[in-house]
Symmetry: D2
Amino acid sequence: MTNTIKKIGVFTSGGDSPGMNAAIRAVVRTALYHNIEVVGIRRGYEGMINAEFQDMDRKSVANIIQRGGTILKTARSQAFLTPEGRQIAYNNLKKINVDALVAIGGDGTFTGAKVFGEEFDMPILGLPGTIDNDLFGTDFTIGYDTAINTVINAVDKIRDTAESHDRLFIVEVMGRDCGLIALRSGIGVGAESILIPETKTDINAIIHRLEISRKDKSSKIIMVAEGDDAGGAFEVAEIIKARFPNYDTKVSILGHIQRGGSPTCMDRVLASRVGVAAVEGLLNGERSQMVGLIHGKIAFTSFEQAIKHHVEVNENLLKIVEVLSL
Amino acid sequence: MTNTIKKIGVFTSGGDSPGMNAAIRAVVRTALYHNIEVVGIRRGYEGMINAEFQDMDRKSVANIIQRGGTILKTARSQAFLTPEGRQIAYNNLKKINVDALVAIGGDGTFTGAKVFGEEFDMPILGLPGTIDNDLFGTDFTIGYDTAINTVINAVDKIRDTAESHDRLFIVEVMGRDCGLIALRSGIGVGAESILIPETKTDINAIIHRLEISRKDKSSKIIMVAEGDDAGGAFEVAEIIKARFPNYDTKVSILGHIQRGGSPTCMDRVLASRVGVAAVEGLLNGERSQMVGLIHGKIAFTSFEQAIKHHVEVNENLLKIVEVLSL
Amino acid sequence: MTNTIKKIGVFTSGGDSPGMNAAIRAVVRTALYHNIEVVGIRRGYEGMINAEFQDMDRKSVANIIQRGGTILKTARSQAFLTPEGRQIAYNNLKKINVDALVAIGGDGTFTGAKVFGEEFDMPILGLPGTIDNDLFGTDFTIGYDTAINTVINAVDKIRDTAESHDRLFIVEVMGRDCGLIALRSGIGVGAESILIPETKTDINAIIHRLEISRKDKSSKIIMVAEGDDAGGAFEVAEIIKARFPNYDTKVSILGHIQRGGSPTCMDRVLASRVGVAAVEGLLNGERSQMVGLIHGKIAFTSFEQAIKHHVEVNENLLKIVEVLSL
Amino acid sequence: MTNTIKKIGVFTSGGDSPGMNAAIRAVVRTALYHNIEVVGIRRGYEGMINAEFQDMDRKSVANIIQRGGTILKTARSQAFLTPEGRQIAYNNLKKINVDALVAIGGDGTFTGAKVFGEEFDMPILGLPGTIDNDLFGTDFTIGYDTAINTVINAVDKIRDTAESHDRLFIVEVMGRDCGLIALRSGIGVGAESILIPETKTDINAIIHRLEISRKDKSSKIIMVAEGDDAGGAFEVAEIIKARFPNYDTKVSILGHIQRGGSPTCMDRVLASRVGVAAVEGLLNGERSQMVGLIHGKIAFTSFEQAIKHHVEVNENLLKIVEVLSL
């Protein structure tokens, strides 16, 4: 344990995700529990450069565990991509005696943290805050569980109208490079097909499935991750309409509602656990790692691995879609 | 009271709306209470022509009051627009001894009901089932209250991310000819501006408001009804982006989630009340009217008036947007 | 218009209700719109006596329209019941130059406001903030619509388990003197019977209804207002269990969840409208009145009438319970 | 693979849990996918004895994945505890040529399944359907995730009013022998203290924590599992009120809402995965085991182990409560 850490800075960066506030709360409370000061850095790396700091006490994080978004706000920073920007950030942190950092965000955040940790003598640990679940080194990221529940609740509403009209809905969810939101929420709503970037989309197979399931089901849902190789929901709808001109096919793009909302219990607990572990990890000398949960246990993974390693799609999940949708 | 009514047919037609099931339940239960048989007609006028009938008993409508959509399904019918189609529909109804009808839907539904009631000796009463709230003769339509709550819950989620990123969101809601969903939900989310078809949209005024409110608010919502004269959300966003190129402006089209979901208490109570009143109205000899609630009391309005009369936008609501958003 | 009002105080008092924050926001924003200062008084009359004041600007009420509870907190005050307490409160208000007040609460709040307005030269208007809907002079109170939706959402969950087990549930909701929460939510969940303080409860009739509906329905809900003359849910359950010993009868007391939650759209719009009207009313010289909505229009009712007049139970609502539950 | 299985029976038993319908759907669809017939057994073991059978096809399980409760209903059976009852059940199953069973429920269900599988030549696999998460051999049980989210959503509402009034709430959740609902939901709501049957409750420590946290927090939540050794919420409240007579302490018993509601995405996916695996397991000759997920992978555990092995409380979760609540 290095006893030199007396003040920790905490910030959120990149796209926001539900549970970030629970993570901030855990970091602040744990630091105070260990008699360490905490400063909140607003707007991520951009705020570090602009010296947007605020002291955090127990009250600063009261009554926020249930709130979506991030009370520290978030931003993307061009300036932090430059050595000059990072130097200013470091100087600002030193001016207020910050000894260590907890960064909450996704791969962009950790890329910045990795570089910053290498350039300066600043211990940094990261918490996986992204709805995409695309980080290696944790079973789930903070916000993913909330996002998939937001999706299924929205699609449950869409199904009401799909059932009433015997319609086919093509629903597009977030996921430019990663289909995990589409995959689990697609299973959760009983989608006929799930189109994700990780697998080659076979439109003919989808059309074949639609044909054989027509007589048994009045409503149908096809779930599309925005980054699928067949295109987004509108492109998929065009292909299907061309083949089934008489079928009543509609498109729904769920969009930004997927980033918000009160976090689920799992996201709050995950955020709380990794938040506690990050502060304790810093006190134990850990640095330049992401703190995640693997098989329900706290696990540290280097930033490098967390970003670069490919998160594999669970083949079993793909297979059960085929079994259950017919 | 005409004692000749022994069997009532009930159906839903046009776009579905939350609370239609509660209305079906009320019609069925009230008829049975008065010892009248009830038949459910599936898929509206189309099902009338195709003789898609199902007998309804108490169990048929058990445990449906809370469900979105319509268990009788709905459709639009080209065939019913022709005299031949309507004759077939009438013959089918007579074959199973239907004496009277309750039609649940919006203006298209009532237009059909009006013609049908004039051509044949068939008492028909209508229930206002549409999320648009665009029918004259009722304070609210069945589904409107649910739809505006769906909108505000979605925008509350969007605001989480808007707040975290200091963004402006242009949110498009349903309403091709009618801005009532946008108006009330816009007030409900504290929108900066609400753009509706009933009023001339003044983009310069909107931009002016954005300028003066910039320093006081980190997130901003502009609510646009899809039929606004300035265009939909994407068109409005283009104009605003051109003026504020540095502002982080995003678009969200809420789409079909607005038609679904479990109905609110107000929609369930409204549907129950007008459903009871429709059956009792038929027994009392009423016909060719919509049954609504005006000032909390049951009111009958001729189909002609219900469809044609303009539903006025409450000027006070428009005015308070201006006061509250600054 | 009296031009003498330059500073308004706003406070919440008594039991909290969802929508109070939307009302506070409307009062603050409207005052600022008219270039009037606003001070928030924390913890109602108690805070007036303890001089718990905070200046309010546009930012103070940003992002609160969707929040349950009250940011100004609320309390009950023994001290304000005494002339000495009220004198201190008045002196404190005068010290900070408060010219007029907006009080948000229920009958206890307005009783205090009425006395205070009579004793001192202080214009006060009230906003109906209570989940009970028991105030004369407004169609609905702020929070009522949210409360009944909270109830039906809870009972929808209870019905899942009731259906699965063929159970009878006795559900107790708030309402010591007023059965309006039980009445509308009871219709909303399709309750077999609704027991409210305003009507004499006939247990034999309830048992009779249970007997005849047993074969048609697998689950049953009886809704009881806590102040019913037959007792609360436990008492009612005892009577029913004695009569149907083999029936699986369970009790659920919904309790304090009924006071919380994000306000519905109707509550937010209602709160916004009466909040605007209260400030404008003060500027127009109105005083010692509650601002409500009657038939969708702003209406002023003297505190005396608002408190004392009996809110009648809608007989039609009672009647449709009988029709629909069989 | 034994090719002798041509017809599978599926049933739910014991207390219902959200996700049971998703499990039934998965069993039915997977069996049909493998060209195996499926019969639904209503009311669990009781229905087996009473021959309450219904054939299941693809449509039988359409549009149920999102529904709470169980469409097959559930019951507890005294008759099945006797050898005679089980013999009748077996005979009934044989009459309709049922070759194998999938039992969805908790430890009572599996105890019955174990005995039945030993007495007769009937392959049975079990799915963990209970909100309590008290089964060995699976990371989570079907319904647990939904239950803890129902709890945190209810407590979020309670917190609104707790915050407004500076109150302490003692919230009682389900868990006669198992504190896992209390533990995770307690962390999810940021409870001051969590009282569970697995640990000795130290009231003095709780009171000490309340004392030191009083100045930093306006609202406080203590979460109590119904089976805690200190008693339920009312008993705990009495002790605390005796010590803090001036503190505004309230009790809320969440009760049966915890069993209902639309299942979360995690519960739907879990139910789908183990449902598929159970049918495929039967085809592969597995029997007398529960199918769960351990570390995200399908795992078979003998009924004996699933029931008897103690599910340990995660010590880390207990520890972070202490860190975060101060």
